[in-house]
Symmetry: C2
Amino acid sequence: MFEPITIKDIAKALGLSTSTVSRALRGGYEISADTKKLVLEYAEKINYHPNPIALSLKERRSHSIGVVVCEVANNYFSQAINGIESIAYNRGYHVIITQTHESFDREVVNVQHMASRSVDGLLISLSSETKDLSHIKYLHEKGLPIVFFDRVAADIETHKVVANNYQGAFDATEHLIKAGFRKIGHLTSSPTLSITKERLEGYKAALAAYNIPFRESYLKNCEHGGMIQTEVESAVRELITMTDRPDAIFVAGDKLSTGCLTTVKKFGLKVPADIAIAGFTNSDVAELFNPPLTSIRQPAFKIGQIATEMLIQLIESKYPVTEFITTRLDTELDIRKSSEYQPVPKYTF
Amino acid sequence: MFEPITIKDIAKALGLSTSTVSRALRGGYEISADTKKLVLEYAEKINYHPNPIALSLKERRSHSIGVVVCEVANNYFSQAINGIESIAYNRGYHVIITQTHESFDREVVNVQHMASRSVDGLLISLSSETKDLSHIKYLHEKGLPIVFFDRVAADIETHKVVANNYQGAFDATEHLIKAGFRKIGHLTSSPTLSITKERLEGYKAALAAYNIPFRESYLKNCEHGGMIQTEVESAVRELITMTDRPDAIFVAGDKLSTGCLTTVKKFGLKVPADIAIAGFTNSDVAELFNPPLTSIRQPAFKIGQIATEMLIQLIESKYPVTEFITTRLDTELDIRKSSEYQPVPKYTF
DNA sequence: TTGTAAGCGTTATCAT
DNA sequence: ATGATAACGCTTACAA
């Protein structure tokens, strides 16, 4: 039903062979200027476009890169995707986005589908369920260019781009400590994720730096990274109902932070009077939140850009790359000033 | 360098012809049970997967659907995309997402790219710059299945799925009126968009229903739908600094609503004491906002789902579809209770 | 300079 | 029941 203009049509119309037409359309060597012009003009006229599928089949590449993230509906990732696109677009690559919804099975399916559709490379942020990396290792060993960002795989040797999670967590925790809190809980994502580990280390280091003992009971993991509200709720409930409960929480994750805020509010706790919260979030409206949230911002856009640049470099390098680097970008602590948090008039309408 | 397991490899290994292998792999007629089993088991063992590119070339279809939205970093669209995916995934389709960033040129490029890569159908929400629809009309006339959602094209005959923007706008405006406001401004997106027009009509109708005259000066358009902060800022500034300024604003759009809130706060106005705001937003944390925002929620997930179902129906229907329907889903007015907006203690840490 | 033919991976048609 | 062949659209040795 659709767009049957092929190189053959041109050849027939012009009384040439398909190869001559092909040559005219491609680079210009081995062809007479006249023929070339003729073909080019005719192709233009009938609005010919080469069939990229045929090209992919032939060249075994697709000029597209695949992206694997857990969720698009997450400020960090949607910003990262914008960064990815900004680079890919003007380097002539198209971007295929897939979501895992934190499911390992889904990750495997997505990765395999994209690989088999000949994406030229993969940009991956692991799902929180992922422990086994063989589906990725397999492709990596076959030579498919892969760059990890955010949630990276420890034992796959390739480029990686992440925020300085350790330092961000340290800063956030230290911020809480300096504000006078010493009983600081930590609400975080799946313990298998690299970001979870790095942030936990930063948190522990800050506690240690101020001689505050780490307490196991103050640590809560949410496997689904805040996508499931009930999971956050029960974790937060446990934190705030335990004996000798924390008076502050350091939260590691975008959805987790907002989920925590929502829950705390639901339970009638005032922030920061009853409990203070500092969390990783890239929400552009974080400063509008009430209860207030001190947020650790990740350079998501930049991370997406760098990861994409590295991937394209990998794709286009003629020789196998042997040295892989991990780029670590600083986070930013966004502290609200107390003056901004004036009581608001009652909402009467 | 990559995944050279083809039907040929199986044929060679098993001493069969490629056609026999193909038959064994497909449906099962005209083949002996033994051979079939042999092939299937071997294919399984060496982890064979058919090359979708080759299939696409042959079948002239790709089992993928293309999505065109302005931004992924927008609560409405990221939720809609989740709806789209949820249906596409278990109907065996893959989803390719592209963003226009409200640019017409980008829309044209994206649409053409996807069409030429043989997507089986297109799910489109128009960019705010789009006036000329010929790039879409062309494909539509060629027979490419297209379903519009949210920002729809008036003069292209196909399925469309939208929220009841008229009613939503009416409800929001009426809500403000009933709360005692009579000078209600309207901050909205590009006047070319269907949603803009529908919402404007709803707003006007509500004013009329309460005998409030419509004032041209109270209407502000933002071409970029809130993606550019300065644009929102100057529009809001104009609204709140004019003589006889509005005491309430009805805002039409996700980013626009949060942008409006941010700006109003920046200018030191209290909500709703100085100015009340009701706006379309799908933010899952809207209830955390301070200043408070009364929000009109769109069933984004559902809209995505229905649009996808319709598209797949179009794709898979054997006969040309002649009757096209527009589905209109109700919005929901989310009014915060005044009791939830207690003054918060000063943020002292 | 141009044409012929093979091949990318698969399936459908036709023989056998 | 199985194999050979052509075809999907394109590029590229290799011939002419």
